[in-house]
Each structure stands twice: as structure tokens, then as C-alpha cells.
């Protein structure tokens, strides 16, 4: 992975990530999030996680964010009008976030492995789908099925929630 591409996609991810938070318009936020996810997917692929990268695009960009956009448009959410900003709360939230960032960074700095580069792989273009599948169905079979049940429950819940009250 060339450093140039890494920084390119990292900055893409971060800039659009910031845009998500800063944009007053929900549609613009959602689109920024899509762009951010695309960058993130590229970062995943730079870590030889092709399957995860593609799943990221397929699930997040292709489905989840379309759902977001759909809901935003359906509810006709407009740009946030300027309300009275509670400066104390805003400063507090921002402060907490900064403290969190500093804390994590301190941890990373003191983490020895963080200074090492990634070791090379034996076969760079390995079929990671097959490997993940192996692991998923062998080692993590139970959690996988639990997840399936969870998704089923979520589906039923969503159907129930979005049904209009019969009048």
C-alpha cells in the first residue's frame, strides 16, 4: 500500500466524515457519509480485506445510506434552522470529544506495536472470502446464527414499528 494512496483515502474519509457532522442539511450529511464510507472501503482494501471493503460498499453505501436518504426525503427534513445554540452544552460536548481524542492518541503513542509496519502476506491476492467463510461457519457458527435471529427480530420489529395505527 503506497503511503500516497493511504493518505489520499484517509483524508477523503476524514474530510467527508467531518462534513457529515458539520453540514446543516441532512441530505448533504448523508451524501458525505456515503463518500466517507467509500474512502473507508478503500482503506479496508488497502489492508487486503477485499471482502470487508466490498461488503462495506454493498451494505452501507448501497443499502443503509439509501435508506437514510429515503427517510430524509420522505420526512422532508430541511436544513436545520439556526436555533439558539446552548453554548455551554456545545462547548462541553466539544471538550469531551477533544479529551477523548487526546486520550486515545496518548494510548496509541504509548502502544509499541503502533510504530511497526504491517508484515507481508504469503499470497497477496488470497481468496479471503473463502477464508472468512471457513472461519464464520466453523468457529463462529453459533454467533452467526444468533446474528441471523437478530436480523429476523429486527425485521419483524421494523415492520411492526412502521405500520400505521389502524384507526
Amino acid at each position: 500500500m503506497s503511503p500516497f494512496l493511504f493518505w489520499l483515502f484517509a483524508s477523503l474519509t476524514l474530510i467527508f466524515g467531518a462534513a457529515v457532522v458539520l453540514n446543516p442539511n441532512p441530505v448533504a450529511s448523508a451524501l458525505s457519509l456515503v463518500a466517507s464510507f467509500l474512502g473507508l472501503s478503500a482503506l479496508f482494501m488497502s489492508l487486503d480485506a477485499f471482502f470487508i471493503g466490498i461488503i462495506q460498499v454493498l451494505v452501507y453505501a448501497g443499502a443503509v445510506m439509501v435508506l437514510f436518504l429515503f427517510i430524509i426525503m420522505l420526512l422532508d427534513l430541511r436544513a436545520e434552522e439556526r436555533r439558539r445554540i446552548n453554548w455551554l452544552a456545545a462547548a462541553g460536548g466539544f471538550g469531551v470529544a477533544v479529551i477523548l481524542l487526546v486520550q486515545i492518541c496518548v494510548v496509541i503513542v504509548h502502544f509499541q506495536a503502533a510504530k511497526q509496519t504491517f508484515p507481508p502476506l504469503a499470497r497477496p491476492t488470497s481468496a479471503d472470502v473463502w477464508n472468512i467463510g471457513q472461519l464464520l461457519f466453523m468457529n463462529y457458527n453459533l454467533p452467526f446464527q444468533v446474528i441471523g435471529v437478530l436480523v429476523l427480530v429486527a425485521t419483524v420489529g421494523v415492520v411492526l414499528l412502521s405500520r400505521r395505527e389502524p384507526r
Partner: protein, 106 residues
């Protein structure tokens, strides 16, 4: 060369952004999006660690990626439920602003 730390820092910044979004934004749907940002920041760390731990067979440690797979699945379910809740809320209150939803607040 790019080190593990670089990925971790990117992940940390992304996580903090999501966190700040959750803290500062007042629109529920944007809060939900910021939440996704945080989850994905965690995913990035997981994948980075997975790639960092190369096993004896010369392959990455796929446990981390399996975990990311789970996270993505759960996140998709979470978004579906979250948005359904949001729509239900909007139907009841005609708003998605958290400041307007204060029935449990003194």
C-alpha cells in the same frame, strides 16, 4: 511506510468526529449517521489489527474481519430499527429534533 499507528490514528479521529456529532447535533437522523461513523471507526481498527497479526500460514488473522462482518450486520439491523423508530416518532411529533422530544425531561 504506513504503520499500524497511522490507521489507528485515522480510526481515532473518525471515532471522535462521530462522537462529536452525537454530542453536538440536534437532528436525530444526523445523530444516527454519526453513530454509524463511530461504528466504522471501530471497524477500521479491527481490520487494521487483523492485517497486523499475520499468522504462520502467511494469512491475516481473519477473526478481526469476521468481527467486522458481525458489526456491519448488526449495524444494518440497528439502522433499520433506528429509522423505523424515527419515522414512528416523526408521525407522532412531527419533529426529529432531540430538543423537542422532552417528555421524560424535567
Amino acid at each position: 511506510m504506513i504503520t499500524l499507528g497511522d490507521y489507528l490514528v485515522v480510526s481515532a479521529i473518525l471515532f471522535t468526529m462521530g462522537f462529536a456529532g452525537v454530542m453536538l447535533r440536534r437532528n436525530l437522523i444526523v445523530i444516527l449517521m454519526s453513530l454509524e461513523l463511530m461504528l466504522n471507526a471501530a471497524n477500521l481498527s479491527l481490520v487494521a489489527f487483523s492485517r497486523f497479526r499475520v499468522g504462520a500460514n502467511g494469512l491475516p488473522n481473519y477473526n478481526g474481519q469476521v468481527f467486522v462482518f458481525f458489526v456491519i450486520t448488526v449495524a444494518a439491523a440497528e439502522v433499520a430499527v433506528g429509522l423505523a423508530l424515527l419515522v414512528a416518532l416523526y408521525r407522532a411529533r412531527q419533529t426529529t429534533n432531540v430538543e423537542d422530544i422532552r417528555s421524560l425531561k424535567f
